[in-house]
Amino acid sequence: MENAEYDALKAAADWIRRKAVDMAYLAGSHGAHLGGSLSSVEIYAVLYGKALRFRKEEPDWPERDRFIAGKEHGRLSEYAAMAWAGILEETILDTYLEDGGKLTGHPRDLSLGLEYSSCSLGMALPVAAGMALAAKRMGKGHHVYTLMGDGELQEGSMWEAFLCAGHYRLDNLCAVIDRNRLSSDGETEKLMALGDIGAKLEAFGWRCVHADGHDVRSLALAFERFREEKGRPVAIVADTVKGKGLSFAENDPRWHNGVLTQELYERALRELAGGENNADKRAAHPGDGQNGTAQGILGDRTGGSVKDA
């Protein structure tokens, strides 16, 4: 990955993280799923900045890659990433909790680029598998991506879909697992151990790729592995930290859904600024791409060390 691309994705992640914190503050006493949103910031940055093919002016472009959000708890980052990518108007982010709002409750709205309504765990992967299967049967070349929390893997419906996607060799399907090791009640490995997710999925006929979920380079390489894989769906197990970026929230299950007070919000902003002038990170957005796709915006990956991430 060229340095310019790395810098752009890193800046995107910074912008998304800041925006997610803003939205969590906006939620007030209602509380927000801040922990799981912050663990998936870099994943969303690389998804919308590098992996997904889309047209921001035509969200329902038939040849777009499908992104099926399975992790409701990452919604803040998802919306922020879509705003960063230019699919959503930035101003609409402020309305994500309004009664009757276009983003409220995570609707399915192709005109907004929202492919599927998540909110309930265990729902998305089976649908993503069906979409990938349909693409195969219909001779379409687009890819289907889905993001899930690791706790979500405790749902039985997920394993039905893992089995199905492996059986039908859906190599157009990429499942990213946000492995932050925490769910609402605490550590996944103490509550209902998931163990070696990679080994489990390999046994189900998937290729499993591990990535550092907070390193955009590592994530970009993992998506590269997906694109070159033939004959198997690919799972990217992204090791992450719940609440990443805020010292008071990191690895604390209470931030699964927490209230960001004004005091904490101000502290969060100071931490995110990192002592530097927290300039508008949007300035780092590279602007329109030549062919209207995210890959066009940021350019194809041309170099970088190839490691078995």
Binding site: M123, G130, A134
Partner: protein
């Protein structure tokens, strides 16, 4: 012939010929469903997900979101009960164009036991907004429903009641219109609304009553939702006693729909709900269970006659 072999083997073959965007997803019941020929003729339209109902509805929904019409096939006992949340979120809330076909509904699977009976599926389907809920009386109607659903946008649940030897209700062709009950027999003393397997029984009961000088009008309530309020309330104005007959709990199905409709309209007639009387019955063949629930033709006739005498 059973209803599901008619639905899949005859009805769907026609649909596949005329619609390029139709897919079938089954949960290990292709052969049982009677899809043998389709498997060979249209292998690319066919997906078997194995024994998984949540995965079946999930995958079918994903395929439907890509602009396809998707029919799913499994037993009525499992199709909704196992995958209710997927049905709610993907079909009802998001409108996935999936037609869920539940086979062997009611007590069709008698000796296999309560796990395989479906006496609550109509209730589950009815309470989900935007689902069309159908229950054919015989195999011809099942074929007609299969075709009608392809051109009716939106999710649906079809309840097939006879795995084999479905009695013939329609000896001649007739126009099937979703949401519009069909008058099968006329009579002046009482009106009966039957659905699924109970339509043929209701007709037999009406014949028995005819011999006793009691005239019964019999409607085929093939669409549970949207409920045909107009036809039902018209009958409520004309008859003092109305009967609903279904191979389903009297809670949540046809009888409930009729009771809701009648009470909201201010009543007028007395409504008798025949069906599973909200209790479990001893295991055995279908007729053995019907006998306990009071659903055999002679019992239906007796029930109607007693009710009329008591007025």
């Amino acid at each position: 012939m059973g209803q599901h072999r008619a639905f899949w083997g005859i009805g769907l073959e026609e649909v596949l010929k005329t619609h390029e965007n139709v897919f079938i997803v089954t949960a290990d019941l292709a052969l049982y469903s009677g899809m043998n020929r389709l498997l060979h003729t249209y292998p690319e339209r066919f997906v078997n997900v194995g024994i998984q109902e949540q995965g079946m509805i999930g995958a079918a929904s994903g395929m439907a979101f890509e602009g396809n019409i998707v029919y799913t096939s499994t037993y009525a006992a499992f199709s909704l009960a196992r995958a209710m949340e997927q049905v709610r979120n993907n079909l009802s809330v998001l409108g996935a164009n999936v037609k869920i076909v539940g086979m062997c509904a009611g007590y069709d699977m008698g000796p296999l036991g309560r796990s395989h009976w479906a006496t609550e599926d109509l209730a589950m389907a009815r309470c989900l907004p935007d689902l069309t809920v159908l229950s054919p009386a015989d195999s011809l109607e099942a074929v007609k429903m299969c075709a009608a659903l392809a051109d009716r946008k939106g999710p649906a649940y079809v309840r097939l009641s006879y795995s084999s030897n479905a009695p013939i209700v329609y000896r001649e062709d007739y126009p099937f219109v979703p949401g519009r009950f069909v008058t099968l027999r006329c009579g002046d003393d009482a009106a009966v609304f039957a659905t699924g397997a109970m339509v043929a029984e209701a007709l037999e009961a009406a014949a028995l009553l005819d011999e006793r000088g009691v005239g019964v009008k019999v409607f085929n309530a093939h669409t549970i939702k949207p409920f045909d309020r107009e036809t039902f309330l018209s009958a409520a104005r004309a008859y003092g006693h109305l009967f609903t007959i279904e191979e389903h709990n009297i809670i949540g199905g046809l009888g409930s729909a009729a009771a809701e409709c009648l009470s909201e309209a201010g009543g007028g007639a007395v409504l008798h709900r025949l069906g599973m009387q909200d209790k479990h019955y001893a295991l055995g063949k279908r007729e053995f269970i019907w006998r306990q629930a009071g659903l055999c033709r002679d019992q239906i006739a007796e029930h109607i006659q007693t009710a009329l005498l008591g007025k």
